[in-house]
Every structure is written in structure tokens, then in C-alpha cells.
């Protein structure tokens, strides 16, 4: 059978098992194993468990549970509620203020976590219930967190960008700096959308209420004096201490990126013990239970998706596609669009790290020859891969949301997320029209690159 035929079969098979409702982790593992059996040497089956273990047994990946623990400390204790109460008190006059605050929380957390699902989980476990409680529709709340979470791989210590820089032989420092502009652009786009959507949902709620329907939490009045608001401010303090503590440890040269994850978790535990007296096993149990549940679910999916990638790589599916596109000798912008489209389709199934490993060596030389700045392309490719994290069938952030808020139907999550996918596409378009969004900042700091 040709590589193309196997590739199509693999894709279709994946869609079928995914939509059968089989748990994602088992579905990925099972489809990979079946294809291994039919299309790969027999000994490959003996390697299944070792492959999964080797993929998972990196401290970089395993820092995810620790980031989740840090998030759960805030989200599952009163710390989260207090934090959001304070934010709400200060920002409720701004349309979508709470949603915007969540986008910013994700954006800041992104600078600590090297992975997107970790960012999504940490902020979402407190953010989603809070937004829903204040009237945000479930899909809207889920969309903000899922999309905000993707920012995790656009800032250091992003694993994805590190791998890209190595594959593209580009300056990692420059690539990280180049991520800042687009990061800001996405934050602005997400916030703008949040404000607009808030206004619309608010108006709908108002119409329903005036029409004699139920009164949405949106319409709850908030009458706070300035001194009330000031008194709420110290509640933000634990979060600020946590954020600065971890940032200082990471960027001040005290801790390596993965050590930062452990340090952050301990700091969060200490803070909730001191400030909120959450230290008894009875109080801590729900925090750890939810952390373990969520990280087990997520890590198993990641482990199995790497097994899935292994089969895909071994059958040469992504590589052949990339080679085929390169062999078409397309004109500059058609080549770029085709490649980005391919990355997007691969993003349906594969995590960003696997996409880079498989395709970068093949697609980068022709892109370079066509005159594209690879630093700029790295940022664009990262945003495209971020989209893959929030759209089905394999969208890690969606599964995180599904776990945080199991009562939101998947359909609502997906509809809530789609506008953000659109916003990311707009961001990519803007980046194509104005490459300076990415290149201006590194050029300013490090000087214009010699190419």
C-alpha cells in the first residue's frame, strides 16, 4: 500500500475511534497499535511500552502535573474565589472585565509554564467557575480559558519554540523575543473579543429579563464604595507573591524551568496554608485528588499521542506530505499557505512538539530559499499549532476544560472556542501583512539579523 493510502486510512481510522467516544488516550494507543501490527515490523510491538515510557519520562513533560497542582491550590481553595472577587470588584465596570482578567492571567502564567494545557488548567480551574457564576455563558468561559491557555507555548520556557530554534538553526533568544509581539497581539484580540461578546451576552440577558424571563447573574448589581474595593485588594496578594516568587526563581537564575514547576507548587501550598489555613489532610485532599485526576488523564493522553506520532513518523506520513508539498515547487506565498495548511491539518491529530520534529527539517529549507525569515515563520507556525490545541479531534486544551467543567457539553466548548480559532487566523494574517509585529522587537534588542 502506498504511503498516501496508509496515511488516509490512518487519519480516517483515528477519526472513527475518536468519535466513537472511546477515551482519547486509549483511542490513540489502540489505533497506533493496530497500524503497527499491520504495517510495521513485528518487533515494533515489543517497543510500545518503552516508547511511551521514554516519551513521558522527561522532567520537562512531567512538570505538567506540578503546574496543575499549583493551579489547583488557587482554584480549589478560597484563594481563587477571593482573587476573582477582588478582580471583579475593580473591573466590573469594564465590559468583559473578568474575561479580560482571565486572558491576562493566562498570558502571565504562560511565562512560567512550557506547555499550554498546564497554563489552561492552572487558570481555568478557578477562572471558569468564577466566570460562569457571574453569568458568562459556559461556552464563552471555556473559550476564553482554552484560547488563553494556548499562550503557554508562545513565551519562554516553551518546549515547542526551543525545538523549532534547534531545527531551524535560528537564535533561540531572537525567537523568544519575536514571540512577544504576537503574544501581545493575541492578548489584545482575545480581550477585545471578550469585551464584545460580553456586551452581547449582557444585552441578551437584559432582553430576557425585561421580557419577563429569569434574571441572569450578569444583571446582579454591584454597589461597592471605594473603601470596599480597597479592602479587597490584599486578597490579590497571595497570587501576586506566587507569581513574583516563581518568576524571580526562573528568570533570576535560581531554578531551572522544571524545578520552577516544583517550587511553584510548594509555594502555592505554603501560601494557602498560611493565608487560608488550608493545611489539614482533610482540606488538602480535594486539591490533590483533582490534581491527580487531571494530570493522569492528561499525561496518559500525551504519552499515547506520542506513541501515535511514532507510528505516523515511522510510516513516513507527515514527512511524505511535507516532501510532496516541497516537490510541487510552488510560488512563495502559495508555498507558505500550503505548508501552513498542512501544519493545521496535522494539528488535528498531533501535539506541536511532534509536528515540529517531523516536518521542520523538510519544510524549513525551501521556506528559507523562498526568502522567508525563519524566526518570523517560527512564530506563525507556533500560532497555527496553538490552534490545534483548541480544536477537535485531538485538542489537549479542550480535554483540560472538559475535565475542569465536566457539565459543559463538548459541543458548547467547541462552539465557544471557534471564534478564538478565527482570531488566531486573523493574527496569522496580520503577521503575514505586517511581519514587523514579530520581528520589530528582536531587531530592536539584538540588532537587525544578518540573514
Amino acid at each position: 500500500m502506498s504511503v498516501a493510502a496508509i496515511g488516509i486510512l490512518y487519519g480516517l481510522g483515528t477519526l472513527v475511534v475518536m468519535f466513537s467516544g472511546m477515551p482519547i488516550a486509549f483511542a490513540l494507543g489502540a489505533i497506533a497499535t493496530v497500524f503497527m501490527y499491520f504495517f510495521m515490523p513485528g518487533a515494533a510491538l515489543d517497543m510500545v511500552t518503552q516508547n511511551v515510557y521514554e516519551e513521558m519520562a522527561s522532567i520537562t513533560l512531567l512538570s505538567i502535573p506540578l503546574f496543575i497542582l499549583k493551579g489547583a491550590c488557587i482554584g480549589k481553595s478560597r484563594a481563587g474565589a477571593d482573587l476573582y472577587a477582588a478582580i471583579h470588584a475593580w473591573l466590573h465596570k469594564i465590559p468583559g472585565g473578568l474575561g479580560i482578567a482571565n486572558v491576562f492571567a493566562c498570558a502571565l502564567f504562560a511565562a512560567m509554564a512550557g506547555s499550554s494545557p498546564a497554563t489552561c488548567s492552572a487558570i481555568g480551574s478557578a477562572g471558569i467557575p468564577e466566570m460562569r457564576q457571574r453569568g458568562y455563558s459556559p461556552g464563552f468561559a471555556a473559550g476564553i480559558i482554552a484560547a488563553g491557555g494556548t499562550l503557554g507555548i508562545l513565551l519562554p520556557p516553551s518546549i515547542t519554540m526551543i525545538l523549532f530554534a534547534v531545527a531551524a538553526e535560528q537564535s533561540l533568544g531572537r525567537l523568544f523575543l519575536a514571540g512577544l509581539g504576537p503574544w501581545l497581539l493575541l492578548v489584545v484580540l482575545f480581550s477585545g473579543y471578550a469585551a464584545w461578546r460580553y456586551k452581547r451576552e449582557y444585552k441578551t440577558a437584559l432582553d430576557v429579563y425585561h421580557g419577563g424571563g429569569v434574571k441572569s447573574a450578569y444583571l446582579d448589581e454591584m454597589l461597592l464604595t471605594f473603601s470596599d474595593k480597597t479592602r479587597m485588594l490584599p486578597r490579590v496578594l497571595p497570587f501576586v507573591i506566587l507569581l513574583t516568587g516563581v518568576m524571580v526563581a526562573l528568570y533570576g537564575g535560581y531554578a531551572t524551568p522544571s524545578e520552577t514547576a516544583g517550587l511553584g507548587a510548594i509555594l502555592a501550598l505554603v501560601l494557602i496554608a498560611v493565608v487560608y489555613k488550608v493545611w489539614r489532610p482533610r482540606d488538602l485532599k480535594p486539591i490533590f485528588t483533582s490534581t491527580l485526576k487531571e494530570s493522569t488523564m492528561l499525561m496518559l493522553i500525551i504519552g499515547m499521542s506520542l506513541l501515535y506520532s511514532y507510528v505516523m513518523s515511522s510510516l513516513h506520513i507527515s514527512q511524505s506530505t511535507a516532501e510532496w508539498i516541497v516537490a510541487l515547487h510552488l510560488s512563495k506565498w502559495v508555498l507558505l499557505s500550503t505548508i501552513l495548511f498542512m501544519v493545521m491539518v496535522l494539528g488535528f491529530f498531533l501535539p506541536p512538539v511532534s509536528i515540529i520534529l517531523m516536518t521542520a527539517p523538510i519544510i524549513l529549507p525551501p521556506l528559507k530559499a523562498a526568502g522567508f525569515d525563519l524566526i518570523w515563520f517560527g512564530v506563525v507556525m507556533t500560532i497555527i499549532m496553538e490552534m490545534g490545541l483548541i480544536h477537535p479531534p485531538v485538542g489537549l486544551n479542550i480535554f483540560v476544560i472538559k475535565n475542569i467543567a465536566p457539565d459543559i457539553p463538548l459541543k458548547d466548548v467547541i462552539w465557544g472556542v471557534m471564534p478564538f480559532v478565527g482570531l488566531m487566523m486573523i493574527a496569522v494574517l496580520l503577521l503575514c501583512l505586517m511581519p514587523g509585529i514579530a520581528t520589530w522587537f528582536p531587531d530592536m534588542v539584538m540588532g537587525v539579523s544578518s540573514k
Binding site: 515490523p41 521514554e54 522532567i59 522544571s258 524545578e259 520534529l357 517531523m358
Partner: protein
């Protein structure tokens, strides 16, 4: 004609093309092209760079079990599974390319091949590569320089030597090195010249100690093949593979040497100071290694003890150029 048999060649280094990029990737690609040409397409090599097929450590078991045909693999990574293989990144055991070259036909080399052969692995191409140190605050040239610094040695044996110099040793994944050096969580990192380039540490490091000329850091990263796969091939194909492997050794040697020079240029251009090692300095490092890592290694088992003894007897032989080709042809004819 029968369909071509595919030889998957996996490695952990950045991927490129046959003409440019990491020489270890290029070596695999050159091998793939040659093998297809000389077997008239009966064998077809496909290169999987950058661990895009499987993770570094999984490659060894995969080749050994026949799940993967070939790999360019720093065999010391499998030192936890086969203790003897730790010799492949033993500080001070090899101190020049000439000495590395002499391994293939030495007693030590034979023993090392046997160890791998028992594990189901055939050495196709012998590649030794020097490495150096990139550091941010002060250079590490003499062993005394390392005292008090936070260093990533990258292997059990190098870590032992570093600890003996008074450095504090850090273990962190290679993809976190850059950020750690940038922030100062790490003061220095040791790795091969080629990886010193691809990790882009010149952006954050101020000093580089090269491995050009003399070095105490040499890594054995051969092109290996699964014995199960190899022995199923017809004799003429086996001979062709070994012949091409031997030819690649020359390319590997020249490219490794070129990278030792290139890394110095890259760091110099980025504004870092570059230092070379003298014979006397290498001897100092070697002396520490002999007391620490070598001893530890010899204690592991009888074959380790034997291997480290034989390793000391490997002396560089000249002329280096003429020899390997003749041997390879002879081997081919005998079968």
C-alpha cells in the same frame, strides 16, 4: 524486481540536507544515498532526524530487538543497560582523533564490538567526536577552574570528574540548557562541538573551551545496525554496507574536526573568548578521571576492567588514511 527493503536510520541530532546541517545527520543521509546506489535500489535508507521517530534511549533497544534497522547513536546513552558502553564517553580515554581512529582495529575496539554484537548490534561506521565547554562567567580550561561552578557534564562519568574538581553538577534536559545558562541557573555546559553550535549557547555564553587539537571529552557515536536485520541480508549487501560504513568514517572524521574549528568561529563572532587545551591540561583532567570515573567503571564488572585496561593501550597509528579501506575490502571478499 523485488521491492526495496527499507533501512530506517534514526538519530537525535537536528535534521538538514545531504549538503548542509549537522554532520551526523549528513553522514546518515550520505550513507542512505550510497547504499541505494550500490545495491541498485535493493536497499533504501530513510533518515529520521531529531528523535522524530523515537526518543534517544528507545533507539538502542529498538535496534537491538530489530524494531529499528539503523541508528547513529552515542552508545554511552545505553550505559545503564550495558555498563561496558560507558567507555564511549569516558573522559580522558581518548584524547585525540588519531587515537579514536585507532580504536577500530585495536583490542579495545574488538572487545567493544563484541559487547555490542552480543546485544544484537553491528557497528557499521566508527565515529569519535570531540567536545568542549561553554560557560557564562569564567572559562573552564584547567580542572581548578570548575570549582564552585554549576556545570552540566551530561554523563555519569563526566559528572564524577567534575565533582572531584569541586564543581556542583546539575542534571537537566538538554532542551533546558539554553534558558538555564541565560538566567544563570547553570554556569557551564559540556557537549560535542556540533551540539555546542546547534544549542546556540554562543548567544548566552561568554567563554568557550574547544576540543580542537587536544581534548579530554571524546564521544563515540557510531552508525549502528541491528544484527537481526544485518544477518538476514545477502552476503554481498552486508559487504556493501560495511564498505560504505568504512568510507563514511573518513567523512565523519573530517566533519568532526571541521566542527571543532567552526564552533570556535561561531563563538568568537558572537563575542565570546575561545580557549584551547594543551597536552599538560588534558593530562591533568585525565589524572582526575583515572582516579574517579575510570576506577568506578573498572569496578562494574570484569569486562569493564579489561576494557579500560585495553583502552590505555590504544595508541594513535599513522598514517591514518590508507588503512580502513583495505580492511573493508578484505572482509568483503572473505565472505
Amino acid at each position: 524486481a523485488a521491492p526495496a527493503q527499507e533501512l530506517k536510520i534514526s538519530h537525535q541530532f537536528p535534521g538538514g540536507t545531504i549538503a548542509v546541517g549537522d554532520f551526523r545527520d549528513r553522514l546518515c543521509r550520505k550513507f542512505a544515498v550510497e547504499v541505494e546506489k550500490r545495491t541498485n535500489g535493493a536497499l533504501k535508507g530513510t533518515v529520521y532526524p531529531g528523535s522524530s521517530l523515537m526518543k534517544t534511549n528507545a533507539q538502542f533497544s529498538a535496534v537491538s530487538k530489530g524494531a529499528l534497522e539503523m541508528s547513529l547513536f552515542p552508545v554511552s546513552y545505553a550505559g545503564g543497560e550495558v555498563p561496558e558502553l560507558n567507555i564511549a564517553l569516558m573522559p580522558g580515554v581518548v584524547t585525540s582523533y588519531e587515537q579514536g581512529l585507532a580504536w577500530k582495529n585495536s583490542e579495545a575496539g574488538k572487545l567493544l564490538s563484541d559487547v555490542l554484537y552480543e546485544k544484537g548490534i553491528v557497528i557499521v561506521s566508527w565515529v569519535w567526536q570531540a567536545g568542549g565547554v561553554a560557560s557564562r562567567v569564567k572559562p573552564i580550561v584547567e580542572p581548578e577552574d570548575a570549582k564552585g561552578l554549576k556545570v552540566r557534564g551530561g554523563s555519569r562519568e563526566m559528572d564524577m570528574v567534575l565533582k572531584a574538581t569541586g564543581a556542583s553538577v546539575l542534571s537537566l534536559p538538554s532542551n533546558e540548557i539554553y534558558q538555564a545558562v541565560q538566567t544563570g541557573a547553570l554556569d557551564a555546559a559540556m557537549t560535542s562541538s556540533t551540539s555546542l553550535i546547534s544549542f546556540r549557547l554562543e548567544e548566552v555564553a561568554k567563554h568557550l573551551t574547544t576540543g580542537r587539537g587536544k581534548a579530554y571529552w571524546f564521544m563515540f557515536e557510531p552508525l549502528i545496525m541491528s544484527r537481526l536485520v544485518f544477518e538476514k541480508l545477502p552476503k554481498d549487501q552486508q559487504a556493501t554496507i560495511m564498505a560504505i560504513g568504512a568510507e563514511m568514517e573518513k567523512f565523519g572524521l573530517e566533519a568532526a574536526k571541521a566542527d571543532d574549528q567552526a564552533v570556535a568561529k561561531v563563538y568568537q563572532k558572537a563575542g565570546a573568548k575561545v580557549y584551547d587545551l594543551t597536552d599538560a591540561t588534558v593530562k591533568k583532567w585525565q589524572a582526575i578521571a583515572r582516579d574517579t570515573a575510570w576506577k568506578d567503571y573498572a569496578k562494574k564488572n570484569a569486562r569493564c576492567a579489561q576494557l579500560i585496561q585495553l583502552a590505555e593501550k590504544v595508541v594513535p597509528e599513522t598514517p591514518a588514511e590508507a588503512r580502513p579501506k583495505v580492511k573493508a575490502e578484505k572482509k568483503g571478499k572473505k565472505r
